[in-house]
């Protein structure tokens, strides 16, 4: 495979994709599954962008190098290692947390983070269509109509699913035409309900989720357009595409909204799909894996040596992937209106078990994800596995301060 593309969709829940059992809001992504490996137990190392992306692009955990806002110089971006090896690297996105401001621009030959462009309150990011236009222009100049272009690693990140949830009318109609909210009313729900994490009215929470699903339908068209661009430049057949998300979103499942510092499945069990153009039959894998495995997988695909500080493992070849547990960590209260000292929250998954530690109240939760996939029944007091699971997590709490 000549090129590798990483397509990340911010805030994309796994369960809204048709190929993962969702309601059909992703017809294009579903339609290419015969050429995909679909991982059902992919775990993000954190429930929001700053906690997840160190794993996705540097194969390291959020709290590994302390709590600096800037991307630590000690982390190695996949773009840096690829560029050193002679691979062309290009990144296009519109998430401020991943911008040059926070030093995420290291190692890219081309880096667009949208911070020089204007956005408005109702759509505070550059939409997928415009990101695609920029990618198309870059591809056109890079390949230059010649077969001998330099192999590239392309990272594209879409923000269109992220709040404030003000979808276009035509997409809202595809999800639920009975919802007649105008833009101002949708934005009002963002300010009056979502920002206040108010789940008291289940009917309003359901409307918010439908607005979110309208964005899902919209982003599926964005992905379709992106594939079309690759096809137009005759690049699709030479490109392996990894599609994933940094985290999901909550709609009251555990008493909240959006994506604060919780570690439940709606936030950290994310979609992960690998599109291989030469594949003749799709397959699903239930291997427990982490998004920290993405950078090592990309190095493997380019035939390069692994980077010592990467903490993940290549996902390919599939049969060589070792069975192991996965971790996640974050700072509690992120994005909420609560103030106060920052506290950590951690999780660890092994087999069907998942343990969560919340420093704020020194509490533990243990779930059997097979028997209790919605993580309702905390079995930490009754399970014989609880102590062993706790011992996996305890050494990681505040480890950068020791």
């Amino acid at each position: 495979m000549k090129n590798v593309i990483l397509l990340t969709i911010d805030t994309l829940r796994k369960d809204v994709l048709g190929c993962y059992g969702g309601k059909g809001f992703t017809p294009f992504i579903d339609s290419v599954q015969d050429k995909c490996i679909r991982f059902t137990k992919a775990h993000s190392p954190g429930p929001y962008t700053q906690a997840a992306f160190p794993g996705i692009l540097t194969s390291s955990y959020y709290l590994e190098y302390g709590r600096g806002k800037m991307l630590s110089e000690k982390r190695v971006l996949i773009s840096e290692s690829l560029k050193r090896a002679g691979v062309t690297t290009a990144g296009f996105h519109s998430n401020p947390y991943l911008s040059a401001y926070f030093a995420w621009n290291r190692g890219w030959d081309v880096f667009y983070d949208s911070m020089e462009d204007e956005v408005d309150d109702k759509v505070p990011y550059i939409k997928a269509g415009e990101i695609n236009n920029k990618v198309s222009a870059w591809l056109s100049s890079h390949i230059g109509g010649i077969a001998g272009y330099n192999p590239f690693f392309l990272w594209v990140h879409y923000m269109d699913v992220h709040e404030p949830y003000v979808p276009e009318r035509n997409y809202m109609d595809m999800v639920d035409p009975s919802i007649k909210l105008n833009e101002g009313e949708m934005f009002g729900l963002f300010k009056d309900v979502l920002l206040k994490r108010d789940v008291s009215d289940r009917r309003i929470v359901e409307i918010l989720k439908k607005l979110y699903c309208a964005h899902i339908r919209e982003i599926d068209d964005g992905v379709k357009e992106f594939f079309g661009i690759l096809e137009r430049y005759d690049l699709l057949k030479d490109s392996l595409i990894i599609i994933t998300s940094d985290h999901g979103d909550e709609f009251g499942e555990h008493g909240g909204l959006s994506h604060d510092g919780k570690m439940y499945s709606e936030l950290v069990n994310v979609p992960l799909i690998i599109y291989e153009p030469s594949r003749e039959k799709g397959e699903a894998r239930d291997t427990l894996m982490s998004l920290l495995d993405i950078p090592p997988t990309i190095l493997y695909l380019f035939g390069l040596n692994q980077v010592d500080v990467f903490e993940g493992h290549p996902l390919l070849p599939l049969d060589d992937y070792p069975a192991r547990g996965v971790f996640g960590e974050a700072v509690d209260k992120h994005g909420s209106t609560e103030k106060g000292e920052e506290k950590e929250v951690h999780y660890y998954c092994e087999g069907d078990l998942k343990i969560i530690y919340r420093e704020r109240d020194d509490s533990w939760e243990l779930y059997d994800l097979n028997a209790d996939p919605k993580e309702i029944n905390n079995i930490v007091e009754t399970s014989s596995a609880a102590d062993a699971m706790k011992q996996k997590v305890s050494p990681r709490v505040r480890r950068y301060q020791r």
Partner: protein, 50 residues
């Protein structure tokens, strides 16, 4: 003491080698950006609900 060398390099605005185990005492916040950059960042994050 491990932090002395990285701090000196940071003060001189030189790259700190990844092999160094210490950390610059100046921290990782780079103060050289103009105030409008910080304001723009705050504004963009706020619009996203942060």
């Amino acid at each position: 003491m491990l932090d002395v060398a990285p701090t000196v390099l940071d003060v001189m605005d030189l790259e700190i080698p990844k092999e160094m185990e210490g950390k610059s005492l100046l921290g990782e916040e780079k103060p050289e950006r103009p105030p409008e950059d910080h304001e723009k960042m705050r504004s963009r994050l706020k619009a996203l609900g942060y």
